[in-house]
């Protein structure tokens, strides 16, 4: 008997018992929808936690490498060294970007010299490694970052002091201590090109391009404190990458000891973040929920097997008639097995459809809660395919015993069953 014919017969048999078939499909659909939705709910929860922690700390999976000189002081680290270290980190496969600070590097009111906020020098790729929630304007681009363009991206509290984000855009602020470098070197000052929401845990510094901060350091003889944000890579966390970089760098500095004053010493300040810990807790809860759902699916499978055995029992004579009419034992086995697989796959598809609807609702709720469209994970296609495969497997497992029993029924006994 061809596969198409078996499918056709299985469908005919299933549709001849609509109530039983619908109930079975609903049972399997609920199981599959539960597993899929709970797994996805865990993803949503992880994403939500990560998002909230990231908003609060501004530090996703990123470690901080603190650069000082070999004397331990915060002596000036020149552009070449910063470029060298960045290139060296990236050569190891680690995304890295410098963060330059100096005590008197600030943005000020150009008229009164009022100190408005501290400033840090960063590269244009900072938003790749550290959360920067722009509420107005833009971050400075690569060209501006390379050419020491007089631009600044300010935190929202500062923008509020300037009349709000919209009013702040385009304003010119002074950079550096009033009356000294800011007025001497910056002329019209730095233009506000963007406003961002600073992480909750930080007061918020304004961002200026790295070359601008370096120029400030060189002109004012201010020592720059240089740190590198290092991101995760190939499944390793930022902290692991930073540790590897530090170890690698230690070996490198021994081999090139001629680099004396500017020889950087890297010091990892990274530790497991609260975000990491919360994500691990959520993962554990996710696994637990998935196990609970899987157990319910197993219970459903046993119920399905029970119903199928009963259905086979009810159809004993029909099976006998089929055998008498030319069906082989294999035909009967395939027929019963296909019936259960057809029902469970139908249940799996319905369950997947329900799960997609539920997960879209969850994702929508997450976007509303976080006000961040990128925060919601999409239901991975792998989970969908896995669900349908699980449904088919449930069908095979729950149908196997009844199918075997049906195919082994002695024909004469089957015909005599009333």
């Amino acid at each position: 008997m061809s596969a198409a014919r078996i499918l056709q017969l299985a469908w005919r048999e299933s549709s001849s018992h609509p109530l039983r078939s619908v109930l079975l499909v609903i049972g399997v659909a609920l199981g599959i929808a539960s597993v899929t939705t709970l797994v996805f709910a865990g993803e949503v929860a992880k994403s939500f936690v990560a998002n909230q922690v990231e908003r609060a700390t501004g530090k996703p999976d990123v470690a901080l490498l603190h650069i000082t000189t070999d004397t331990g002081s915060k002596a000036t680290v020149g552009p070449d060294e910063i470029e060298m270290i960045g290139a060296w980190a990236r050569a190891q496969g680690a995304p890295a970007t410098p963060v330059l600070t100096a005590e008197q590097l600030t943005v000020q009111n150009p008229g009164s010299g009022e100190l408005l906020a501290p400033a840090v020098g960063v590269d244009h790729d900072l938003p790749d490694l550290r959360r920067v929630d722009l509420v107005a304007g833009r971050f400075f681009d690569a060209t501006e970052g390379r050419t020491a363009a007089p631009v600044v991206v300010i935190p929202r509290p500062l923008a509020d002091r300037l009349g709000g984000p919209a009013s702040a855009l385009g304003r010119h602020l002074a950079l550096g201590p009033a009356g000294t470098w800011g007025q001497t070197h910056m002329g019209a000052g730095v233009e506000v090109v963007g406003v961002f929401d600073p992480p909750l845990a930080e007061d918020g510094s304004a961002y200026v391009p790295t070359p601008l901060a370096q120029a400030f350091g060189a002109a004012t003889q201010q020592p720059l404190d240089v740190r590198f944000l290092v991101g995760g890579h190939d499944g390793a966390s930022g902290a692991q990458v930073a540790s590897a970089l530090r170890a690698d760098h230690a070996a490198w500095t021994r081999a090139t000891s001629s680099l004396e004053v500017t020889r950087p010493v890297l010091e990892s300040e990274a530790a497991p973040s609260s975000g990491d810990i919360l994500a691990r807790v959520v993962s554990a809860i996710q696994i637990f929920l998935a196990l609970v759902a899987a157990v319910s699916l197993c219970v459903g499978a046993i119920g399905l097997a029970n119903v199928t055995i009963m259905a086979v029992g009810e159809r004993t004579r029909e099976i006998g008639i089929r055998r008498a009419c030319g069906a082989t034992a294999t035909d009967i086995r395939l027929l019963v097995l296909t019936e259960t697989v057809v029902l469970t796959v139908a249940g799996g598809l319905v369950g997947t459809w329900v799960a997609i609807a539920l997960t879209e609702a969850m994702a929508g709720a997450l976007i509303v809660l976080t006000k961040d469209a990128s925060a919601a994970p999409a239901l991975p296609l792998g989970i969908v395919a896995f669900s349908v495969a699980i449904a088919a497997m449930v069908g095979v497992i729950s149908g196997w015993v009844p199918a075997r029993r049906a195919s082994r029924l002695p024909v004469v006994d089957a015909l005599r069953v009333q």
Binding site: S16, R323, A324, C325, V412
Partner: protein, 228 residues
């Protein structure tokens, strides 16, 4: 067509053994119609089930159309049954949820695509021949006993079997309907050259239609020499 020698069927229970058939020798030529008669419980049905490859004997040999069946594996056994044998049952054994037409073509569910195509064309001829063409869309519960047995006969013949086995085919019918079914069955088997083995206690009905008669008693089978 059929050559049975020393055939026995014994049911083995936990406490004792029950011999249903003992040392049965039987030959039936191709195209013959043979009547097996005997009282209830004499072993007629068991003999028919064994001849129809629905059951295996516990001893002896059974050659069907030149093929020794007792040594066949399960698959070959099933295939031989599907290709050579058609059944007609006392209680019709129609699928209750299927229409008359679906019941007629039921054996084609398990045939190859080519056989199914050819079988469907033949089924259309059969239903006209058996005068049930106007009842094809009815389910068995909507058919009379005679109509159900005609559907059963069409189903038994739809794969053009070499051997038709009928177990009390008129047992559930009134006399007139039974006579018409017996007449129709013998007519069709003669026309198609099918060998038929009929188990029935109604010797008045089938006796005149059969070429030979056998009597089953206490598990043994003997041919009746003098025809009534």
């Amino acid at each position: 067509m059929i050559a049975v020698e020393g055939l026995a069927k014994t049911l083995i229970g936990p406490a004792h053994e029950l011999a249903i058939l003992r040392d049965v020798d039987l030959t039936v030529a191709a195209g013959e119609i043979v009547l097996i008669r005997g009282r209830s419980g004499s072993g007629k049905s068991t003999l028919l089930f064994t001849l129809g490859l629905l059951d295996r004997p516990t001893a002896g040999t059974y050659e069907l159309d030149g093929i020794e069946t007792t040594t066949l594996g399960d698959k070959a056994f099933d295939r031989l049954r599907a290709s050579h044998i058609g059944y007609l049952f006392q209680n019709f054994y129609l699928m209750p949820r299927l229409t008359a037409w679906e019941n007629v073509v039921l054996p084609l569910d398990h045939a190859s695509t080519d056989d199914r195509r050819a079988g469907t064309a033949w089924a259309n001829e059969l239903v006209e021949l058996l005068q049930i063409g106007h009842r094809l869309h009815h389910v068995p519960s909507q058919l009379s006993g005679g109509e159900q047995q005609r559907v059963g006969l069409a189903r038994a013949l739809v794969r053009r079997p070499r051997l038709l086995l009928a177990d009390e085919p008129t047992g559930s019918l009134d006399e007139a309907t039974g006579a018409s079914i017996a007449q129709l069955m013998t007519q069709v088997t003669h026309e198609l050259g099918i060998t038929a083995v009929v188990a029935s206690h109604d010797t008045n009905l089938f006796g005149p239609l059969a070429d030979r008669e056998f009597a089953v008693a206490d598990g043994t089978v003997r041919e009746l020499a003098g025809r009534p």
